[in-house]
Amino acid sequence: MLKLEPRHDPSRVMTYLSPVIALLATVLLGVCLFLALGKDPARCLEMFFVAPVKDARALGEMSIKATPLLLIGLGLSLCFRSSVWNIGAEGQFILGTVFASGVAIRATEQSSPLMVVPVLLAGMAGGMLWGAITAILRDRFNANEILVSLMLVYVAEQVLGYLVYGPWKDPDGYNFPQTVTFLDAVRVPRFAPASRANAGTALALFAVGVFWVFLHRTHAGYRLLVSGMAPAAARYAGFSARSALWTAFLVSGGMAGLAGALEVAGPVGQLTTHVPLGYGFAAIIVAFVGRLNPIGVLFSAVLMSMFYIGGELSQARLGLPRSVTGVFQGLLLFALLTCDTFINYRLRWISPS
């Protein structure tokens, strides 16, 4: 009989090695999967791990995918650290795109290039507003934040749909559900004309530093951490659980909203029903694979964006089904949870006596 037995002192090194081992296990399982599908595993792996980083253009594409994942993942890692379960980052992302677009479509040819700043701020405000709805329901009525935040995703989709099918529809858009294309003044500036990489990536990298300092070097970050890990200790010390809840939702909502704003004002350039790609959900995996640590989230966001690109490429070039991206993400999370279990437990064979 197999039995899981708690380890006396869990290894610190393994806490950091675990994601690496999980990645190797994912690759291994992926190879089995490709063989079973009758594809050349080497070619498939190349799509996932080589093609996304092979030149400047590919890196630019990767940065476009990694930036929203990183921004949302940072916000969620802070949220999950304080044991506030915001599952609805996708909805906050959508509201971010909506609010940002609301400002962006008002730009004229005379607008200053600085108008992109209010566009991004409006996106953050939209995400925060959507997060605040869950926070207030949790705070006032003790509603379950997992359910509320998740259901608000579908409400957000309806809001987006109403606007692009209705009041904001581009009159010259052949009746497609989309707004006008944004003017250059409200677009996020690119680094180089050849690549689609833009200033949003720099913003996200800067946010990594800000989050690290906040979590590890400020008393406010410490209070958040304690209220997540040991609510009784937080009460004992006098740290408010309410302020932790609000901080978590406003910060993670704001980050998701910012990601949404960067998406519409960056690579997409207009608001359509196809803007939300599920980054808000994928970022949950990003946050956990990154150990809820800002530096770790940076690596996992890059990894996850490679999965996105690899999935698209293998669909286009090798004829693999589109769902392969989701399967890869799921495998990675599954492998990580397994590895994490073995940090704290060991497997023992017990002979049934």
Binding site: H8, D9, R217, M229, A230, S353
Partner: protein
């Protein structure tokens, strides 16, 4: 023929050998004590006898026959019953329904009710089968557990620290029941670290230390000192205790009433007492009589009490948060050291930040300052830890307690409130903690010690109050108090207490 014989029992846990080749022989009808400090391996040994834990090596013989006890069901089939230290009763069910849950198919509820009445009558265990468990006092709940155990007519009854939740009169009542069982031929394994009880109740005593048997004695022929020597391997440390005149009132509680917040809580009613500087005031009482609620009000975890009901140096602090109270010199050591006094997964250095607000400056943290403070606490209070970066959960109970008490003492409080300062702590660490409290008092601090251990309160406090049923007794100087008197007060029977405390039924038992 022996009822139960354990020989060469060994059980290895990760990092600790809980039992090392332990042998134990229990005769029929014998009341057999298993004595040892916290962590000596008593509970593990009993769980092995009850089938809840499997030994790595060793043999178990039951009535002369070698047996393998794979599960508690096996144990019950053999005739072994156990009453655990922490009760396993469903609060929303009645006593009889709880008993019914543990029985096999084929029992109807009316039959269970009849049997519970029969058994409780037979052994003088006062249990009403139809009362819901949440309305029962701790002593009554224990009686439900014992009746449940006796329903199977066991030949061996194991009791794990049964008196830790009882008032002194209730203890005497329990002993009468146990003696009666023993005279009918039922063997009893009695686990305890209380020497007086073992000497008055038990006929044989096996002493464990560090997982090994260090002695087998007849407790009636031993003294407390000789048993204590066997148990801890050295002389029990003495505490110097000098009289002092207390100073100004530091912490004043006046006419504090707090309605209970939930069905299973206790309401506080009209509580008034004062702690003066330079004194240790001890608060006795069986747990669940309002200590938790009162401490939350005093610490600032509950700030909803009436304004003016709690004063610190004359200043109203009833609505002040814990940070504000700490700023004015009030520090608090709660009963739960892991999860409340410390965050288990954070390092000792990070855990200093919970109550030592001065380590962070204008909201910024300096890891080296945290580490320095933790290092100082480890040295000053003799904490065995793997440096300031060791996680709180990696420390043993006693060492973590030393760290937590040290963290608050090092803050130079003017008022210190300590709940269960030495609960689950070994004798050496307990003596050190009590010594630190007395030193703090000598320095002029007002100290309130809330404890269930009467011995401890008599040892450290200058004066005592008792909490029962959410009310607090008048204070009495420790030199004028006796264990018997405090025991009666713990049942709510102090002069002038007109209301019979709702959660205290031991009162009627004591009078009977």
């Amino acid at each position: 023929m022996l009822r139960l014989e354990l020989s060469g029992i060994t059980k290895q846990y990760p990092g600790v050998r809980a039992n090392d080749s332990v042998s134990l022989r229990v005769a029929p009808g014998q009341i057999h004590a298993v004595l040892g400090e916290n962590g000596a391996g008593k509970s593990t040994l009993m769980k092995i006898a009850y089938g809840a834990v499997q030994p790595d090596a060793g043999e178990i013989r039951w009535n002369g026959r070698p047996v393998v006890i794979k599960s508690p069901e096996d144990a019950r089939d053999l005739g072994i019953a156990m009453v655990f230290q922490h009760f396993s009763l469903f609060e929303t069910l009645t006593a009889a329904e709880n008993v019914w849950l543990g029985l096999g198919r084929g029992w109807t509820l009316p039959r269970v009710i009849d049997r519970v009445r029969e058994v409780s009558h037979q052994y003088g265990l006062d249990v009403d089968p139809l009362r819901p468990v949440h309305s029962l006092a701790v002593g009554e709940r224990q009686r439900v557990e014992i009746v449940r155990a006796l329903l199977g007519a066991p030949e061996l009854l194991i009791l794990d620290e049964p008196t830790s939740v009882l008032t002194p009169p209730a203890v005497q009542k329990l002993f009468a029941t146990l003696r009666r069982l023993s005279s009918e031929g039922c063997s009893i394994l009695y686990i305890s670290h209380k020497l007086d009880e073992i000497r008055s109740l038990c006929q044989h005593c096996t002493v464990l230390r560090g997982g090994k048997v260090v002695g087998e004695v007849d407790p009636k022929k031993e003294t407390n000192a000789s048993l204590s020597r066997l148990m801890i391997g050295s002389e029990p440390p003495e505490l110097p205790h000098t009289e002092r005149t207390p100073g100004e009132p530091s912490l004043e509680v006046s006419k504090l009433s707090v309605p209970k917040r939930d069905q299973f809580g206790t309401s506080l009613e009209d509580i008034t007492f004062t702690v003066r500087s330079g004194e240790i005031l001890g608060m006795a009482g069986v747990s669940g009589n309002g200590q938790k609620e009162l401490l939350a009000v005093l610490s600032g975890e509950d700030t909803k009490s009436r304004p003016g009901s709690v004063k610190l140096f004359g200043r109203d602090i009833a609505g002040a948060k814990p940070q504000a109270r700490r700023k004015h010199g009030l520090h608090f050591v709660p009963e739960e050291r892991l999860g409340r006094a410390t965050v288990p997964s954070l390092s000792l250095a990070e855990n200093t930040l919970l109550t030592r607000d001065e380590v962070s400056r204008s909201g910024w943290l300096f890891p080296s300052a945290l580490r320095d403070l933790a290092r100082r606490l480890i040295e000053r209070f003799n904490v065995k830890a793997n440096g300031p970066d060791a996680s709180a959960r990696s420390l043993s109970g006693g060492n973590l307690q030393k760290f937590v008490v040290g963290r608050e003492i090092d803050a130079r409080p003017k008022v210190l409130i300590v709940s269960q300062p030495t609960w689950g702590v070994d004798v050496g660490a307990a003596a050190q903690i009590r010594g630190e409290l007395i030193k703090l008092r000598d320095g002029g601090c007002a100290v309130l010690v809330v404890s269930e251990e009467l011995d401890e309160l008599f040892e450290v406090s200058d004066a005592m109050i008792v909490i029962a049923g959410g009310r607090v007794s008048p204070r009495i100087p420790t030199r004028n108090a006796t264990v018997e008197q405090i025991g009666e007060w713990m049942s709510g029977l102090w002069p002038g207490n007109t209301v019979v405390a709702p959660r205290d039924v031991e009162a009627s038992v004591a009078q009977a």
